[in-house]
Symmetry: D2
Subunit: 375 residues, 4 copies
């Protein structure tokens, strides 16, 4: 990688965090959309990162962020962000690390343009997830896949987090894969409307109703899961040999994807062992103590009627997965219910944790890890 | 069977139906509850049946129905019914055919009491469904099971229809069982709140939320499906050898249970053949032309996002099952979505169709079939 | 009026209705939208009218209706309609009577174009409601305003029905205006999402939420109410001297606008007299026996917790207004709750009833009233 | 007041707060219900108070709280609370200050019993709100009413906060009363389901529906508002001369009561002055810097479609009232929309703020104000 062609950032004042360290300047691409707003909320008080640029479409460029955005978060828009001038989505930007909340159409070209110009792009978009040399990473599951960026043709890099419904599934599968092996996964999702952005799903479809279909969702769950659980090798990923069969539904819930999972294990074990594998799971983000890492990453509930989206989605700051109802399946081996927050763990929060991991491992050129850790 | 000990029904004026035939007097046991109200609605204009008695708990006995009931149906309470005096739930009643909308606790004893006293009880309650000599019948699926009543110890009889989520599943399975054989069924249900009666599910649980659990539901789906698809023989039913694995969820929908099904067939076929099996399915109720029989019983939708509860639950007067999204499954053989109206086909409507079948087959002593058909 | 320049309708076969009379050919302008679909549903089985043409935007012209429309009604799309070829929204059309379900932007010009060409336009759009010479009519309230069309400059005519929330209000006010006089009306509406069409309101705004605002709605309620209750005279309407103050809210309900009304009467009366005025109200459509006229038009409920949208919106085929909770107001004189079905009485159904009235009064040139009545 | 007959609290370890001061021991009466759970959540991390006892019905006494409660809060149950043994709701308890989350039936006697025994009872129940000598207080509105307790016959005292829908209204009225005078208030509420507790409102009533009625609610809003805005004098309150006319509705929202208000002022002013009165409002809790006091207490939104429950209810930690849409009314003088969080500001949070006020004013015998302030 070469040094990106940054603008002179002489007017850029990065306030030190609580520990007195200077914070790392970052930008949010596509900052006015639904996911972009979540990024702004999460980064506004982040101990490592500080937003120095927000981009949007050409028509918003030049406006204060508070005018360009139709702010729809439950948290108020932070004042320091409200007055920032929105830029067009193109280099140069006064930072090396950029979060992409672009929609797939815009992301396809723009992310490559930034990566070519030397930026380190952490993307929530779907465009490049399945590119062979682009790491598709859940930090607790396959942190080692980040090494793929060495094979990318860019001066910078693109790293991605998966689709919102894949994240909850693969995080719940990981301890079982490690402990017992998993060969088959049947999953039926009941997904929240926030996953469709704004305006997203019509209220006519979500009052006294549900929709048993989400465009392209089932294919993403199936292929992304295999890539994430696969083995990175020589610049690409050999997918895992797990068979995944998904059925996706949209239900009248604001946040929180609920997934009914049935799976076949490679080794025969009991319910208690499965629950214990969930409970004792911990991984690289927890060991590193990354700021956004939930501890523990998987919560197991023993009540018969949990997890429920409204009651459990916010566990671990919205970054933990909650599982419940672990029980035998008469066709495969086990059934359980997994719940994760689709716009936190499943989108912006997942990207922020991923950026923390990349920074902690010294992968972002010119950016020193606040942990003093290098990969 | 012997003639039941009927009250003298001299004050009972049964109006002839459109064809000038006298209608068959019937009673509804437990008429003030949610299912009871549905019975009243369906029977109010029924071409064969006429309500002559309504029963409820002792505390309601003696009141006009309009005072005893908290009427919650979208159709207005028929005036002729409103003024009927509610009776206690005990023989004698001025009819031979009684519909039971009792809750399970009350049904357990009361239905036996009526059957002992010579009444023909068509029950929507769960109490006796799994009794060896009690037919558990979906008229399109296993009409032959009605012959079990010959083995019952009662002067009358008890026949039952299944749990609301079983009905939609088993009706969708039947054509596939007949045409190709079915060995394994994974089903995840998303069930409407009306299935829980009144007051039923708290609104606190159904706004921005769902509940991945319904008490005893999964076991009912699994065992009832095997009984219904089994073979009646010598006074009991040999269950079908199908393995069913169910996961039940409650979702914010008023009426209409949606079920995501994955199944393994015994014979390998294509999607087109599966859809054709659904489309061409017809059975005894359709052949007999029973008043409540939907024609055809299974509707196949080709749009990618159907069936949806609000848009499809009322097909065939709420008596048809709608299926869609028939597609291959990478673990079992096929996946599809099935939808049925849980309080019509899945409860009161299913019981009414079942009574029509029993009457048409001459099984109700002292009641002549309006079709002139005898079994 | 002159005879419109109709296309030769030689291929047009109008089936006679049950009474053996030929039905009146009609067209629906803007037939693919949400209101257009409601028109199709209502007209499909209408005893007087028969759809002979459906129009939509240029991009849909030439397609079968079933392909041009994304059918979202709970009733299935009638087969005879499904195969009709959609036309562009412009004359000529093979009929004299056209229903306009156009959105306001399209309606502005198109309705004038049709009226100029001699068509009799019954419009649900807002564009011309407040034109001085255009009658804005609720058939039970101000049928006499139809005479305004004599002052229109068109060869044909334009008549309109009001905004969905105005209709319910003004119909409830009418008996009180007639009996006691009404001088002030405070109204707070809680309006269903179907009033916003498709996709309409985002589900993000309607789960665990409401929106206390609907663009332009409050002004429409205030001005339309005064026009409808005003006096038609010499080609325009002198508005009634009622002061109306409206507050409009959008709530998570599919169909049915609920309105909390407080009003000042000109004559002091008791609750019983107010309720009796509602109950005994009847008007021209009831006297004429128009097919879509509800009988009675206003239903009074005595339960403390009614009307409720889901339970009461379908009274009188969705054409009746239900009122309840009539009680004194400590500031004005009385308070009550009124409910009406916003897409039936408040939109397509209101237009159909209006067309029936115009036909019955002999106002549609070349169309004879099935009632044999002339104005 | 005399010293209450406290249990020896030798085993009671009250941890000091951040500032090193010992915290004030408190109990929650009726701790397992919906409001009780909110109290537990709010008091778990309170800088002044520490829960030392939790009470419930006799059947729960002796159990650990985690077993006695069906925990339904979005925040996890704090571990230190989970293991506390639930006591029966009767003196003695090891503290002087008790919060009452009892339902009205239980509160009627129990609160008097505690007050007689020398406890200082801060009650969210409705039982004693309208007792002449019981202060009904919103801390920003009528803190001076607390002096009424000097006239109470108890060794301890009872103070109360109002009904959830009254609080939001009266807090919004207060600045206008002070600045301009208010003579008439029309209010239509759209209230969240959490106000009805658990199980509360049936989901059958809250999907595709609303209910235009809440038992006794309108009367409470009318009479409580007059008492709170009245003048405490010689042991009772002379109600304010404001005429309030309320209409209450239940809508499908989890938390947050929205109120459409129209009012007549005694002095004629413009919209800008009304908005400025809201914006500049501050009161005793803000001046004292009470821990739970929102600053500012009233938020004014300028967007046309705000406030909305989901987006605005959590302002000021759920303790602020948000107003919007301030505009002229053609019948009274102004209309606006007010929103407040019904289970925080409108229930448990309101009680906690009220207790802070009483403590800060030195009214709780034996308890020193952490502020060093005495009344």
């Amino acid at each position: 990688m070469t040094t990106p062609d940054l603008v002179t950032a002489s007017d850029q004042v990065i306030e030190p965090n609580q520990d007195g360290q200077p914070r790392i300047p970052v930008a949010v691409l596509g900052a006015t959309g639904s996911v972009g707003q979540r990024f702004v909320t999460l980064l506004a008080d982040h101990p490592w990162f500080e937003i120095v640029a927000l981009t949007a479409s050409q028509s918003s460029a030049g406006k204060p962020y508070s005018e360009a955005v139709h702010w729809m978060q439950e948290q108020p828009l932070p004042e320091v962000i409200a007055s920032m001038e929105v830029k067009a989505t193109a280099p140069p930007l006064p930072c090396r690390l950029v979060f992409s909340a672009l929609d797939a159409r815009a992301a396809d070209r723009a992310e490559v343009e930034f990566a070519d110009a030397g930026y380190f792009v952490v993307s929530n978009a779907g465009s490049h997830r399945m590119d062979p040399d682009v790491p598709l990473v859940v930090p607790e599951v396959n942190p080692d896949h980040l090494e793929l960026i060495r094979h990318q043709p860019y001066d910078g890099a693109i790293i991605t987090n998966p689709n919102c419904s894949t994240i909850g599934l693969v995080l719940a599968l990981k301890p079982l894969v490690d402990a017992f092996g998993v060969s088959q996964v049947q999953v039926v999702t009941m997904q929240a409307v926030s996953g469709a952005g704004l305006p997203g799903v019509s209220s006519m479809a979500m009052i006294d109703n549900l929709v048993p279909f989400i465009t392209n969702e089932e294919g993403k769950i199936e292929s992304e899961t295999r890539k994430i659980l696969g083995r990175a090798n020589a610049g690409s990923v050999e997918p895992a040999e797990i068979v995944v069969s998904a059925q996706a539904n949209r239900v009248p819930v604001i946040d929180g994807h609920t997934e009914c999972v049935a799976l076949r294990l490679e080794r025969k074990v009991g319910v208690a062992e499965v629950e214990e594998a969930f409970r004792s799971f911990s991984s690289v983000p927890q060991v590193l103590g990354l700021p956004t890492a939930p501890e523990p990453p998987i919560r197991v509930r023993s009540e018969p009627d949990r997890p429920q989206p409204r009651l459990d989605r916010s566990r671990g700051g919205g970054m933990a997965v909650t599982v419940g109802r672990v029980r035998p399946c008469s066709i495969l081996d086990f059934k359980f219910v997994a719940l994760s927050h689709n716009t936190l763990r499943g989108a912006a929060g997942g990207s922020v944790l991923l950026a923390e991991l990349a920074v902690a491992q010294g992968l972002v050129p010119g950016v020193r890890s606040p942990l003093g850790v290098t990969s």
